[in-house]
């Protein structure tokens, strides 16, 4: 969606236009869903919950979105990242989604634990590392494309990518170690 259309829809939403809100939702929901699913390492039940909470926060705080400072999807991702951080910081004694959630029932517990460790490791990464890994592996962009987007040289991007993978590895190792220390 062109930025100008986004600005126009935003203005309409500010005065309570439902159709404009639905248009914004339709234009960005798939992108947000893909981002959240990646950040949850494929845990669909957690992703559903985070997506829901993100949209509720977005509609309540739509007045604080400034279309001149960035795109709506980027703003949504920022909200989702905060929701995810809060989610992984909480010591969950009960899952946010009930045990009856189809995704939860279908997921093997070890597989789920692994996914949670990956998600927590992603949450620990600095923002530029996470977004670089996402650009490379989720969005499938080449190093050259990322360099052009980030206004950097391909060499710089490759170097940063190596550091990002290393940080990811260390964060995951730390999460796995925590799990081993706590025990089953």
């Amino acid at each position: 969606m062109p930025a100008e259309d986004e600005r126009r829809l935003h203005r309409a939403v500010l005065v309570g236009d439902e159709r404009a809100w639905r248009s914004l939702y339709d234009a960005t929901s798939a992108g947000l869903d893909a981002y959240v699913l990646w950040r949850c390492a494929g845990l669909r039940d957690v992703a559903d919950d985070v997506v829901q909470e993100t949209w509720l926060i977005a509609v309540r705080r739509i007045g604080s979105f400034n279309p001149n400072r960035g795109r709506f999807l980027a703003w949504l991702r920022g909200i989702a990242a905060n929701v995810l951080r809060g989610h992984f910081r909480r010591k969950l004694t009960q899952p946010l989604v009930g045990d009856a959630h189809p995704a939860r029932v279908a997921t093997d517990s070890e597989e789920r634990e692994q996914a949670e460790e990956i998600a927590r490791a992603l949450a620990l990464l600095p923002e530029d590392h996470e977004s670089l890994l996402r650009a490379k592996y989720l969005d499938g962009l080449s190093v050259a494309a990322i360099a052009a987007d980030w206004v950097a040289t391909p060499k710089a991007v490759e170097s940063l990518l190596t550091r990002a993978r290393e940080a990811f590895r260390k964060a995951y190792a730390a999460e796995s170690k925590k799990k081993d220390e706590v025990g089953p």
Binding site: V13, L14, V15, G16, D17, E18, W21, R22, Y25, S29, A30, D33, A34, L37, W38, C40, A41, G42, R44, D48, V51, Q52, W55, L56, A58, V59, R60, I62, Q114, E117, I118, A121, L133, Y137, L138, E158, S159, T162, R165, E166, F168, R169, Y172, A173
Partner: protein, 198 residues
């Protein structure tokens, strides 16, 4: 720089990132929860616009009310001050009468002057002239002008009243009267000329 190999779960995650089609049920749920907020926002916008309008209009109304009350108060105080001054000068308290509506005079006759039972101060006469209907107005302004000259030697106020008197006077009554002072005569002559030009 050679990358260290990532643990298998991470390698698998990066090379096979999770994906799914957007769940329709989630979309329905999210829209169902968020759209009512737009209705609340619309209602709040309406309320806010009413509040802003009231916030702007209320001080203006209060200001207008205060001003009109102040004007009335000043007018009454001025009348009272003049009456008291007149009483000191003449030893009598003027009786302020309600204006008597005079009958319409015949064309060739001058309208009978409205004379208060007791002489009124100049300011009171001027206010009375201001409120008086058509024909009476000219005579009252004339009296007020005479009072300004006699009691206060206030020529500026007298001139103001004489001008009003002459302008309000029907053309038939603009003849020079022997009792007119030189200022009234001059104004009448000027008014006659103006009306002839028209």
């Amino acid at each position: 720089m050679i990358d260290k190999p990532l643990p298998l779960p991470l390698d698998d995650f990066l090379n096979n990132p999770p994906a799914r089609p957007e769940p329709a049920e989630l979309r329905r749920l999210v829209l169902g929860q968020t759209v009512p907020h737009l209705g609340r926002r619309r209602r709040w916008m309406v309320i806010r616009s009413y509040l802003w309008t009231a916030a702007i209009i209320t001080p203006l109304l209060l200001y207008a009310l205060i001003c009109s009350s102040a004007v009335e108060l000043v007018r009454r105080l001025a009348e009272r001050a003049d009456e008291e001054a007149f009483a000191q000068n003449h030893g009598v308290l003027p009786i302020v009468e309600e204006p008597q509506p005079a009958p319409a005079p015949p064309l060739k006759e001058k309208p009978p002057p409205v004379v208060a039972k007791a002489p009124l101060p100049a300011v009171a006469l001027e206010w009375k002239a201001f409120d008086a209907p058509g024909v009476q107005q000219s005579a009252l302004y004339l009296q007020a002008g005479d009072r300004y000259v006699e009691d206060k030697h206030d020529l500026a106020s007298a001139l103001r009243c004489y001008v009003q008197s002459v302008q309000a006077a029907p053309v038939e009554t603009l003849e020079i009267d022997p009792n007119d002072n030189w200022l009234v005569m001059a104004l009448k002559m000027d008014q006659i000329e103006r009306r002839k030009e028209k």
